[in-house]
């Protein structure tokens, strides 16, 4: 079985986000970039499927500037077999990304496509579902457990209030939630080996996909700041404020 995974290049989750003074976006200059953490979980899951003999090949896709090669190399060092870079300087939005991935799915015919449930930059949580719709296949989002059975995949999903288990026919799209697994760290020998693994490069044009943005970002602003409150000295004072000043407890 062939498994396709994604590795979106995003601002590292440890970086403090700063909005640019001209409100055109967030500051990406000299900021550490990493693989989207939810995509890392997707890569880990695919590599585990390979290690257990269920998957034969793991292909990793990244879409964006040539710098996305770094994220592909990271995935290759974690155990993916080869990479595909779709190179573009356009502002890539979920629908366009899903169309590109769909073109790659048609080319590569993977039986399982695993993506992060969302990217930590745009927080859209759309791409996997859109890809499944465009490919005309089933989906299992927010997965905390994935089990391949014959021609289908059984997935435990994190839903509001608890868990849901569904079985989806293959080929299918799975998107990962936090508890699915704990991604490994790449070892030095594997980082060296990853440098020799192949990466194919395409443009959206090569794949016949129109990636013109549908949504225009008018401005980006910092969130409204909370007014700093007061420090109370005692528990009595705290309860008194809550009960009599802001009246949030009886």
């Amino acid at each position: 079985m062939k498994v396709l995974v994604t590795a979106k290049r995003v601002v590292d989750y440890n970086v403090n986000i700063r909005v640019l003074n001209d409100n055109s976006g967030v500051d990406l200059n000299n900021v550490k970039m990493s693989v989207n953490p939810f995509d890392e979980i997707a890569i880990e899951e695919a590599v585990r499927l390979k290690e257990t003999g269920i998957a034969e090949e793991v292909i990793v896709v990244s879409i964006g500037s040539s710098a996305c090669q770094e994220q592909i190399r990271t995935a290759l060092a974690l155990g993916a077999d080869r990479g595909i870079l779709v190179e573009t300087e356009e502002d890539m939005q979920p629908l366009a990304i899903a169309k590109i991935l769909n073109a790659i799915v048609e080319k590569e015919k993977p039986e399982l496509i695993i993506l992060g449930k969302q990217a930590i930059d745009g927080d859209n949580s759309q791409t996997g579902q859109m890809l499944a719709a465009l490919a005309g296949i089933g989906q299992a989002t927010f997965a905390s457990q994935v089990e391949i059975k014959d021609k289908s995949v059984t997935v435990t999903r994190e839903i509001d209030g608890g868990l849901e288990t569904i079985t989806v026919k293959l080929p299918a799209v799975v998107t990962t939630d936090l508890r699915l697994n704990e991604p490994r760290y790449a070892s030095l020998p594997n980082i060296m080996k990853a440098k020799k693994k192949p990466i194919d490069t395409y443009s959206p044009n090569d794949l016949g996909v129109d990636v013109a943005p549908r949504v225009q970002v008018l401005k980006v602003e910092p969130p409204a700041e909370r007014q700093a409150g007061i420090i109370v000295e005692t528990v009595e004072e705290l309860v008194d404020k809550l009960r009599n000043d802001v009246k949030v407890i009886p």
């Binding site: 601002v11 986000i17 909005v19 967030v26 629908l95 930590i120 930059d121 927080d123 759309q126 791409t127 996997g128 579902q129 859109m130 890809l131 499944a132 719709a133 089933g138 989906q139 299992a140 989002t141 927010f142 999903r157 994190e158 839903i159 509001d160 209030g161 608890g162 868990l163 849901e164 288990t165 569904i166 079985t167 989806v168 026919k169 299918a172 936090l178 508890r179 549908r214 949504v215 225009q216 970002v217 008018l218 980006v220 602003e221 910092p222 969130p223 909370r226 007014q227 700093a228 409150g229 007061i230 420090i231 109370v232 528990v235 705290l238 309860v239 404020k241 809550l242 949030v248 407890i249």
Partner: protein, 311 residues
């Protein structure tokens, strides 16, 4: 301009986030139709017809919609979607699951988790876990939107009198099958709809100590939450997690106990109306967002707090 709101419901009644999505729709237009897709869902349809501001309720009542499988719900919404200027649903795990399929099949963008409405095609939404707010404009003919549950006050659930129309559309993709649900039976309110939340962090030291917070929560009728640090340390299960990677909450009162206030946690609770922080470290960042801070040993302060609220 007619707006379709896809209801979140449990077949018997509609859930509170649906009322929030209707309220958001009212800021765009006044022709608001609600789709209730479910199985034996007459109760939910009846409920939706009473919500204020709703002009018509559409009901698709069939076993194929019983578990709101994304493929079937999306196909149903797409089938009727052309008639609407906007298609909206709350940002719940169900809404997040089917709505992007709807957008892709209609070949339009989706705007996720809107927190503000500037005009009929311009919206505000949090990005980078709430560390920035983007104002975005779409040129697509149909606007597909999910609505942040804490961003608008829901419309009243009674007082409306919309007509109910049956849809005889059965969409069964055959691509997926529901096996089972494991819904945690909550004796307390659900995190995302609770008006008071008591939350613990790494300062609780272990899972047993969360009993201290539970008794406070019981007295206040509050939901229980936790920081990612407490979840990662194995003190409590993941579904209690409040933050960027957990639940986004905005109760009337949020009591953070032994939580330092990492950015990832603040992203999930800083829209709460009143924030209380109890922490022994006076430099903890949580005090910068708290309305009332108490620098104290939680193991002394929490029992004292509990005794006082009971009196």
């Amino acid at each position: 301009m007619t707006i379709l709101v896809v209801a979140e419901h449990d077949n018997k009644s509609i859930k509170a986030p649906t009322l929030v999505a209707i309220a958001a729709a009212q800021k765009i237009g006044d022709q608001i139709e609600v789709l209730v897709a479910g199985s034996e869902c007459a109760g939910a349809a009846e409920d939706a017809s009473k919500a204020q501001g709703v002009t018509k309720v559409l009901v698709a009542d069939h076993p194929v919609y019983a578990h709101r499988l994304a493929e079937n719900i999306a196909d149903l919404v797409v089938e009727i979607g052309d008639a609407y200027s906007h298609i909206m649903t709350p940002t719940t795990t169900s809404g997040k699951n089917f709505m992007p399929r709807v957008a892709a099949l209609l070949d339009v963008a989706q705007i996720s988790d809107i927190s503000g409405i500037v005009n009929e095609n311009t919206f505000e939404r949090p990005i980078y876990a709430g560390n920035a707010v983007a104002t975005v404009q779409t040129s697509d003919p149909i606007k597909v939107l999910t609505v942040r549950g804490t961003a608008f006050d829901g419309v009243p659930s009674a007082g409306g009198n919309a007509s109910i129309e049956k849809l005889e559309l059965i969409k069964d993709s055959g691509l997926s099958n529901w096996d089972k649900d494991e819904i945690v039976k909550l004796e307390r309110p659900e995190l995302t709809s609770a008006s008071i939340i008591v939350s613990g962090g790494r300062g609780m030291q272990n899972g047993e100590n969360f009993a201290l917070l539970e008794s406070v929560a019981d007295k206040l009728g509050a939901a229980m939450g936790a920081s990612r640090a407490a979840v990662d340390a194995g003190f409590v299960p993941n579904d209690m997690q409040v933050g960027q990677t957990g639940k986004i909450v905005a109760p009337d009162l949020y009591i953070a106990v032994g939580i330092s206030g990492a950015i990832q946690h603040l992203a999930g609770m800083k829209d709460s109306k009143v924030i209380v922080a109890i922490n022994k470290d006076e430099d903890a960042p949580i005090f910068q967002v708290a309305d009332f801070g108490l620098v104290a040993d939680l193991f002394k302060a929490v029992p004292e707090f509990e005794a006082l609220i009971a009196s």
